[in-house]
Amino acid sequence: MSAASSSATRTVIAIRLACGVLALLAWDLSLRLGLIDPLFLATPLQTFQALPKTAVASLPHIAVSFLSFFQALALGVGAAVVVGYLVNTSTYASRMFMPIFQAGVTLPKVTLLPVLVLWLGIEKTTIITYGALSAFFPMIVNVAAAMQEVKPNQITLARSLGLSRAAIMRKAVIPAMLPVLASGLFYACNAAMMGVFIVELAVARVGVGAYVHDLAVTFRTPELYAAVVLTSLMTIAINLAIWYAARHLSKWRTVDI
């Protein structure tokens, strides 16, 4: 068993490495072969060299963006949990409202951005509002799904064992909901980050989006690439951490026999 699985593991790692190398090569060659004007594209090496300087310069912007992101996420997720819970306590209300929220996930909310700017100005509130709006819909859909996971007979059992309301919440309701809530959080996180960056790119003067936009319009290409790489790595790290946490929480749903 171990021989087969370790050779499979080696293949897996080889494929991943190959993908990384291919991507770097494509990136590098597209420039060397003159496919793209070097004014618009920095080589991997240039990007790497620009990293330390750019890291220092972009960290304050990243901090600003992440603060907005956390505020937006808290607001969007909080609202989704409250509204989702209220709407889904009644079957009728759930059938009435959930289709709206479901549609909201994929409707182009980005078109509302000019209106938000009109109402709220080019301010942090706009960023946070739009980020929260982006996070709200995927989260509320998952709140509804999570509530479906709580089976009435599991509650009856808890009652028969004399669990208090708080204990029922802690031992029956929350564990049943947690995997779905966690994956909802993953989607919400993703959407909130996207929302924050969109507003920053489009209108804001602060934050990583605005910084990246500046670098792009002034053709400081290596710094631009370095900043994008840096931000990408950080956001991917956060999102993947949530993804794997969600997967760990739902271990009991997927264990093999």
């Binding site: 009652r159 028969s160 004399g162 564990p175 009991w252 026999i257």
Partner: protein, 271 residues
């Protein structure tokens, strides 16, 4: 002395979509004495599970003068220190391992972690599932899940145990083994048991008394004392005779229900 007593219990379910009221239980009076093993028999859908739910304080009954008492005190809510309830479905929490499921009911008690563990293992040993303590419910079979549920109720070590077809999902052999285990446990530990089953042999083997329900509305049609001497032998002529007798009573109960379909429900005024 009756440990658990139900007097004139009726239960009506309202079906809002059809605006109908269905009387599932009608004036059921029942009692179980200390250390008695009472079996409830009856056709499917006659209200046995509903009746157990009412005894356990999980479901309310019609407020027309009926009541349930344990040791003379009226039951209005679950009494986990007095009554353990094993449901018809095993209802294990899929996010807890087998042993954590067994421990669930003990977590509200003043017990140390080690004591809980020890108690849980004691009962897992009894049903032969120690090796599966760390499995998740979806990794075990339906019959194993039912045994875990049995452990969970036994581990509470309450004076009264209500069991709703606890061995329903088991093969004949395991069923027989666990049945005799259960009989000796209850005898030894002096438990009062109310036990629902569809198996006549199980009823004859385990019950000190057997109450036969008729359906629609559910009533106790007859309450028979089981005078077979212990230890009981499944194949013996007396045993077979008794099973035959139970079968006849059950047939009667079913026919009665079939003959009176108009009693199934009464239309309510639209609300």
């Amino acid at each position: 002395m009756a440990v658990i007593q139900a007097t004139k219990i009726s239960k009506t379910f309202y079906n809002p979509s059809e605006s109908r009221a269905v009387k599932t239980l009608d004036d059921v009076s029942f009692s179980a004495d200390k250390d008695e093993f009472v079996v409830l028999l009856g056709p499917s859908g006659c209200g046995k599970s509903t009746f157990l739910n009412i005894l356990a304080g999980l479901t309310s009954h019609d407020r027309d003068g009926g009541k349930v008492t344990v040791h003379g005190r009226t039951v209005l809510a679950p009494q986990p220190d007095l009554i353990a309830y094993m449901f018809q479905d095993s209802i294990l929490y899929p996010w807890r391992t087998v042993i954590k499921n067994v421990e669930l009911g003990l977590e509200t008690r003043a017990m140390s972690r080690a004591e809980r563990r020890e108690r849980a293992f004691k009962y897992l040993d009894l049903v032969g599932l120690r090796a599966y303590a760390d499995h998740y419910p979806r990794q075990i079979s339906g019959g194993m899940a039912q045994r875990v549920a049995l452990c969970r109720s036994l581990a509470l070590e309450t004076e009264i145990i209500l069991m709703d077809e606890p061995f329903g999902a088991l093969d004949e052999q395991t069923r027989a083994t666990l049945g005799s285990e259960l009989a000796s446990i209850c005898r030894e530990l002096k438990r009062t048991v109310v036990f629902v089953t569809h198996s006549l042999a199980e009823a004859a083997f385990l019950g000190d008394r057997i109450a036969v329900f008729s359906a629609q509305p559910g009533r106790i049609k007859i309450d028979i004392k089981n005078n077979l001497p212990r230890p009981r032998v499944m194949g013996s002529p007396e045993f077979r005779n008794f099973v035959d007798e139970l079968w006849l009573h059950l047939q009667d109960a079913k026919q009665q229900a079939g003959a009176a379909p108009d009693r199934q429900g009464s239309p309510l005024g639209a609300t």
